[in-house]
């Protein structure tokens, strides 16, 4: 199942708080040794050159471009969103990383 409709659904204009809330969450996830290793940007529209230029890469939360993306060309506002990148998801040219077991 491709869940394309869900990726479309999250393509809504984001307010200024969005990036702080989500990236803080990912910082916590990495600090607490979760499976998350970074953030990726789901572009709001393939027509937006700015969004496409930052999509597809894995960022540490501190380095991730802030959403709303500056210079976004969508008339209704930036519809990009973050998605976590997990350690078990291989990136292009990378091997999957081992999945550690944590203790409480």
């Amino acid at each position: 199942m491709k869940w394309l409709w869900l990726q479309d659904l999250v393509r809504k204009p984001k307010d200024a708080q969005y990036a702080k809330i989500v990236l803080d969450r990912y910082r916590l996830g990495i600090k607490a040794h979760g499976e998350i290793r970074g953030a990726r940007i789901i572009p709001g529209s393939e027509q937006c050159e700015k969004a496409m230029s930052v999509a597809g890469k894995t960022y540490l939360p501190d380095d991730a471009p802030l959403i709303p993306i500056q210079g976004c060309s969508l008339p209704g506002g930036c519809c990009c969103s973050y998605t976590p990148v997990m350690k078990y998801e291989p990136q292009m040219g990378e091997a999957a990383q081992p999945e550690p077991v944590h203790t409480v």
Binding site: M1, K2, W3, W5, L6, Q7, L9, V10, D24, R25, Y26, L28, G29, A32, H33, G34, E35, I36, R40, I42, S81, T83, P84, M86, Y88, E89, E99, V101, H102, T103, V104
Partner: protein, 386 residues
């Protein structure tokens, strides 16, 4: 239960014509996203919210009246919520539901048994279903749930809860079938069925906004899931059930078949009633049609905790219109069981299956084959995790 069934035609009319106005019969609440698991299939534990207080929840339940028949107290890990007993008692006091369903990861097993006992004693007319999460056997479970020793705690929790003897308590096991365990599913089934829980239910790992898993590959392939679920259906169909369990197991088998069709056809195979008959209230008071979309109707704090003002708002209508237009589809278990209840052809199939299997000759055949597989004792209700 009959009271809830009596309302089914009203929900069907409500979805079709917008009348009569109905409150949901199934409500999931997530008082806190905090969780001490680190599951490969879920990121909710990273969330922090301005959570509703017990007093705010109490006002909310008061505004609902006794329409909701089924409550799920979800999370995060529900037993990390220090007010879980009081929350259940508040639901009981204001809504008198038939069922309160609580999933747990078993990590806090020492406090779970006494809290469940208190809930069963103080809410005697509600059936409690405690569903213990189990995604693998031994180290496999620990690996998927991200916590060493979790499997041992699952076993300790199961044993402790089994010691409780309340007529309004059912202990279930719930497995999420993901790409991380679909290849080891026989082992998981053998173990889970061998424990003879009151119910054994599975749900497919799916992308959800609530869990922050949109875009993450956790769902097993359609072929592998189909093989896993066919085996489960075969095991269930070899069992001998009596009374209401015969009905609930028939629903469960229909659900598994429905999931296969949703995966194959990628559409709402039967109409979805999330937003009409089922709803979710998130930790911060946002009201959702479901946790997959998690699009907010309104926040309860903005309407003085009056659930009706949210439910009958134009914002809620907008979300319902999107669902009705089939702009979404998913195999979410809680919504799917409600959807099947609202779907006349599914009800007819369940009815005919139950009637057929009640024939003495057919029952006898099942009896003979049942010896070949581990038995599930009594399965009360088909629902599951949120």
């Amino acid at each position: 239960m009959l009271e809830a069934l009596r309302k089914v035609p009203l929900y069907v009319m409500n979805r079709k014509f917008g009348w009569p106005k109905m409150l949901p019969m199934s409500i999931t609440i997530s008082p806190s996203p905090r969780c001490n698991s680190r599951c490969l299939t879920c990121n909710i534990w990273m969330k922090r919210e301005d959570e509703l207080s017990l007093e705010e929840w109490d006002k909310t339940f008061q505004s609902m009246g006794d329409t909701p028949f089924w409550f799920t107290i979800s999370g995060g890990e529900p037993f990390m919520n220090k007010d879980i007993v009081e929350t259940a008692q508040s639901i009981y006091k204001h809504c008198h539901p038939g069922i309160i369903n609580i999933p747990t990861n078993s990590l806090m097993h020492k406090i779970i048994q006494p809290k469940v006992a208190t809930m069963c004693e103080t809410c005697p007319d509600t059936q409690f279903i405690i569903n213990l999460s189990l995604d693998g056997v031994g180290d496999k479970h620990d690996h998927i749930r991200g916590i060493a020793g979790n499997f041992e705690k699952f076993e300790a929790n199961y044993r402790a809860l089994r010691e409780l003897d309340y007529p309004n308590l059912s202990i279930g096991i719930h497995s999420v079938i993901s790409r991380f365990n679909v290849d080891d599913i026989h082992e998981l089934y053998d173990y889970a069925f061998g424990l003879k829980p009151d119910s054994y239910i599975t749900e497919i790992a799916e992308q959800r906004v609530e869990l922050d898993t949109v875009g993450i590959s956790i769902t097993p392939s359609r072929d592998k899931y189909s093989a896993a679920i066919d085996e489960l259906i075969a095991r269930v169909e070899l069992q001998q059930f009596r009374g209401i369990s015969k009905v609930t197991e028939a629903f469960r088998v229909r659900y598994y078949k429905l999931v296969k069709r949703i995966l194959a056809e990628e559409t709402q195979v039967i109409p979805c009633y999330a937003g009409w008959a089922s709803a979710q209230i998130y930790a911060n008071g946002d009201v959702w049609a479901c946790c997959v979309r998690a699009d907010n109707m309104l926040n309860l704090r903005s309407v003085d905790y009056d659930f009706k003002r949210v439910w009958f708002s134009k914002e809620a209508d907008t979300i319902r219109a999107s669902i009705k237009a089939k702009e979404c589809h998913c195999p979410l278990a809680n919504a799917s069981y409600t959807n099947m209840l609202m779907h006349a052809p599914t009800l007819a199939k369940v009815g005919s299956k139950v009637a057929w299997e009640s024939l003495p000759l057919v029952s006898g055949r099942h009896n003979k084959d049942a010896a070949a597989v581990p038995a599930v004792t009594v399965s009360t209700i088909p629902g599951g995790r949120k």
